[in-house]
Amino acid sequence: MGQQIVNGLFLGSIYALFALGYTLVFGVLDILNLAHQAVFMVCAYAALVLVVHLHMPMVAAFPVAILAGGLLGMLVDRIAFKPLRGRSDSNIAGLISSIALATILEATVAQIFGPDVERFPFGTVPTRSLKIGDAVVSELQIIIIAIALLMLAGLTWLLRRTRLGRRIRAVAENPRAARVLGVDVDRIIAASFFVSSALGAAAGVLFGLAFNNVAPDMGRSVELKGLAVIVLGGMGSMPGAALAGLALGLLEVFTVAWIGSSYRDAVAFGVLFLVLVLRPRGLLGSAALREA
């Protein structure tokens, strides 16, 4: 049982990290950024390249990859979302242009690296494990959970205690009012994309390390799970995304343990469906944005 909890929290913290970025952009722009999973994937590759070809230790490669992710996110905003601001169909159009950009990124990576799975070289991360109670926990798992918690804390601090965070929250609530109050909405949106994509990049690197699996299509299944997480947590709610990410991780692990591995993915989507039909605002979301 303890083992399942550890595994569940471990998986869940990666889901949570991914979902945080997803839900941040949704909260600010009311648009689903389906290129998020592409940034997730590209930065896993970035870390791989840094470690394998530039011989950087992971401790250095990680922040570099995250930075790259943030910048890539700003590029995504600039190319796929900014030109559509003000258009009446900006929601669906934004969805579609982010899909387009994700496809372009995935194709580029597949061309450069080929479609096969890549792995981090042995020794990139510690491989020892400890026993806590009756659970076997690897050092890697502990590190990943710790990093996820740190980033969550960092995000919370950013949003609640800094001027940037206040401005982001203002734009999320009411962009027009924020503009009137002197906020440079476009810059704040760009900053939100930076933060969101940095989180996605972190999730990508950690995912790649955790499962030792980096492939051009690695973002696809996580993207869909990510949808389930943000819906469960409440679209636009950061604490919701964190909570729901952990919950989904635990739910999946327990499903595999008790029912069987073939239904593991069905859990996420079953939950997604039920939430949307029964309580569209999720666990912690606001009631405002649901029904037609």
Binding site: A93, I96, T103, I104, T108, Q111, L272, P280
Partner: protein, 299 residues
């Protein structure tokens, strides 16, 4: 061109022609809900239902193919009803997400169903589809959409697309129309699924993924969702493009798979940014620009 040359051409490009037709039908299945302003991404699941139903009938009964196709068309439409009732009242992206969830659940269901051989799917499905059938189905779908346009129902759908609450206050039963369009889209997708299964000899759950329905959406958007034949234009263009690219890619030393993906993404991006009403809106736009230029000259 000699008869032999024609035969060679056909041999090489037969499957392309088939897929132009199939993709056109699939693009229309996404268009039906878009035409009343709803983004539904469940069509891959409807396609799967049609494909599996038809293949199972082929394996276990002696039913004529027409019956298979009829079942493949009707069954998804029926499934669309209990799906649509709770889900169609969701707004915008929430509807899209709910239908994505539905699609994944169906796919996983088929992956785990032993009766249909799970993840491997059904192979050695006899080829019963002829190219003319595909185009007959496409023509039928286009016909239906053509007749709807300009009818009382067609105007209601346009009203729903433009302004749902206002449409309601004109007596339009919005929920019913949305459901009908979801079912119609499901029917198109199911029919395409059955035709494809009996053309490619197989039915595998991996074919009916989120990626597949995104492809359908891309065909519809690139072609243009402002007019009922727009999606078919998009499907034709994007199905033929890889054939052209295949020549290019080998010469330039690029992998055909990633190149096709890249070009699809690029075309989609360019369309959504610069030609949002799709390729099918080009003639209208050019005509309008020529008219404006003529008027400017006259002035």
């Amino acid at each position: 061109m000699s008869l032999g040359g024609l035969q060679d051409f056909w041999l090489t490009y037969q499957s392309t022609v088939a897929f132009v037709g199939l993709n056109g039908l699939l693009a229309l299945s996404v268009y039906t809900t878009l035409s009343c302003g709803q983004l539904s991404l469940a069509q891959a699941a409807f396609m799967a239902i049609g494909a599996y139903a038809s293949a199972i009938l082929t394996f276990h009964t002696q039913a004529p193919f027409a019956l298979n196709l009829a079942v493949a068309t009707l069954l998804p439409a029926l499934v669309a009803v209990p799906l649509g009732l709770p889900v169609l009242r969701l707004k915008g992206v929430f509807l899209a997400i709910a239908t994505i969830g539905f699609g994944e659940v169906v796919r996983i269901f088929f992956v785990n169903l032993d009766f249909t051989n799970g993840a491997l799917g059904l192979t050695a499905v006899p080829q019963r589809t002829a190219i003319w059938m595909i185009y007959a189905a496409l023509a039928a779908a286009l016909f239906v959409l053509w007749r709807i346009r300009g009818s009382r129902a067609g105007y209601a759908l346009e009203a729903i697309r433009e302004d749902e609450p206002a449409a309601r206050t004109m007596g339009i039963h919005v929920a019913r129309y949305k459901l009908a369009m979801l079912a119609l889209g499901g029917a198109f997708a199911g029919l395409a699924g059955a035709l494809e299964a009996h053309y490619t000899f197989m039915v595998a759950p991996g074919t009916y993924s989120f990626t597949r329905v995104v492809d359908m959406l891309v065909y519809a958007v690139v072609g243009g969702t402002g007019i009922f034949y727009g999606p078919v234009v998009g499907a034709t263009f994007l199905t033929l493009l890889p054939e052209v690219l295949r020549e290019v890619s080998s010469r330039v030393g690029l992998q055909p798979g990633p190149l096709r993906l890249f070009v699809n993404g690029l075309v989609l991006l360019l369309v959504i940014l610069f030609l949002p009403e799709g390729i099918s809106s080009l003639p209208g736009r050019l005509r309008a620009r020529r008219r404006a230029r003529r008027e400017a000259h006259a002035a």
